[in-house]
């Protein structure tokens, strides 16, 4: 995903004089290799390890009519300068694009400082942000190209975890992967979780949706495909991030929601993303067991 982001951003900078790129050291080497830094004087700026400035500076560029893309590791792009994001973009009425690397446990072996399971929930607190969680480089490209023409603030969350295939719907809506029987629960797999969820539910009776855009939340598709008011969310970041969206959709009817994601408890280990996801029950067997148990707990009609 990161390579595609770099290539497409360089192309956008070359083709659109209103696109700008603001970096905080991270990614400078990759963009230097494209030559786009030299080709875009004043529009590609590395502010150094200054993440508050990264956001404020990008917002200032936006106020002058540029579409800034700000890029860094997720904890430093979203968590540290969160107030700058809230005020310098949202409150000032300008928009930009944030593109992160280091999603959740992508950099698990670097320890807690570089683990970022909270970013989506933080941004989801803010109004009108479009939050993309792509599962494939082709989805990154489509989302990035759409973002530069979008008046909304956009977050694109790159990950080293990817699915085998891209799902390009031409829009931000959920994709229906398969439809279960009349009393099957609906499982929403977000971004890179799709392949593992597909394997985990291969012989379970579920309707499976795929979401690579989680805000705005596609309640319309969920409502349309849902057979019964039972929903399982499988998100590759903090558990419960989208639970309120489902509860809001189903507030008029008795319903059940299972929210799978990373727990709030710090898992004080290094290792690999797979090891951390397994520790949070987000590997194939963990997901399968959780959904099976959820289904078995169904209250008889």
């Amino acid at each position: 995903m990161r390579e595609r982001f770099t290539a497409v951003t360089a192309e956008l900078l070359d083709s659109d004089p209103n696109v700008a790129l603001v970096l905080a050291d991270i990614g400078v080497a990759q963009f230097r290799d494209t030559g786009v830094i030299d080709r875009s004087p004043g529009r590609v700026v590395n502010v150094g390890i200054r993440e508050q400035l990264l956001i404020g500076f990008a917002a200032g560029m936006a106020k002058e009519g540029f579409k800034p893309i700000a890029h860094s590791y997720a904890p430093f792009l979203v968590e540290r300068p969160w107030e700058q994001i809230r005020l310098d973009f949202g409150h000032q009425g300008v928009s930009g694009i944030l593109v992160s690397i280091g999603a959740t446990y992508d950099e698990a072996d670097w320890g807690r400082t570089h683990q970022a399971p909270e970013d989506v929930q933080l941004l989801a607190m803010l109004p009108d942000w479009r939050i993309h969680v792509p599962g494939h480089p082709d989805e990154v490209e489509a989302q990035l190209r759409a973002a530069v023409t979008d008046d909304a603030n956009v977050y694109i969350r790159l990950s080293t975890q990817t699915n085998e295939s891209a799902y390009l719907t031409g829009g931000p809506g959920f994709s229906t992967i398969r439809t279960g029987s009349g009393d099957a629960p609906t499982v929403v797999a977000v971004g890179p979780m799709l392949d593992v969820v597909t394997r985990a539910t291969a012989d379970l009776d579920v309707t499976l949706l795929y979401a690579n855009t989680i805000r705005p939340f596609d309640s319309e598709t969920l409502r349309a495909v849902m057979q019964v008011p039972e929903v399982v969310l499988v998100e590759p970041y903090l558990e419960g991030t989208s639970t309120a969206e489902v509860s809001g959709l189903l507030q008029a009817v008795p319903h059940r929601v299972l929210s799978l994601g990373t727990s709030r408890k710090e898992n004080r280990h290094y290792g690999t993303p797979s090891e951390h996801f397994a520790a949070h029950g987000l590997d194939e067997s963990g997901i399968r067991n959780s959904i099976t148990e959820f289904t078995a707990q169904r209250i008889p009609a």
Binding site: A20, G48, L53, A59, G60, G65
Partner: protein, 233 residues
Amino acid sequence: MANATSSSNTGLGYEDLPRLMTLMTGDEKHSFSATSTLDVLWVLYSQVLNIDPDHPDDPARDRFLLSKGHGPMAYYAVLAARGFIPVDALPTFAQYDSILGKHPDSILVPGVEIGSGSLGHGLPIATGMANGLKARGSDSQVFCLVGDAESDEGSGFEAIAMAARLKLGGLTAIVIDNKSDQNGWPGGISSRFAVEGWSTSDVDGRDHGAIHEALVTPHSDRPHVVVASVESK
């Protein structure tokens, strides 16, 4: 665009500002903060900024950012005197439907470039704006007013460091020094800018002539800071 040095059509001048400020009540806590900026704001809006109240969004305008959003009564009084907002709006200060809050909101108030109040946001935004204008080849200038205590914020120092490296000659910071900072500035505030390559001026924040001279001092491709000292808080 009208030159801001010409008289505004309100007929209001510097001598009217104290009366205009008294129309706004309820934020006495920030009265020191408000009066500390009054003279710099007046010189900016009456003699320096290339702005037009009839076209507050003109792309060719100069930009002024009140980063230190605390105590905006002086700012609102100047904006009213210069014709950006009606004088009638001043008595609505801080009321639910008012456009004038205890911290300014750029979406609500014509001519206000940024909503501020949380300290340390203005100078980073101003740096991005100055860079954006430079990238477009614009001659518009960006002025950003901060407080001496606000200058404690790390985000401001991030901007100070980068602005000089980017050779943002279109950027001027104004620090109102009313000794609000509890820990002081060894070597003086301007030295913190100078070490990063800024051009600096230290002036009496009540001396209109000195303020004007400092604000229009040529500084080539270096950002410029004017430290305007006023009576201690």
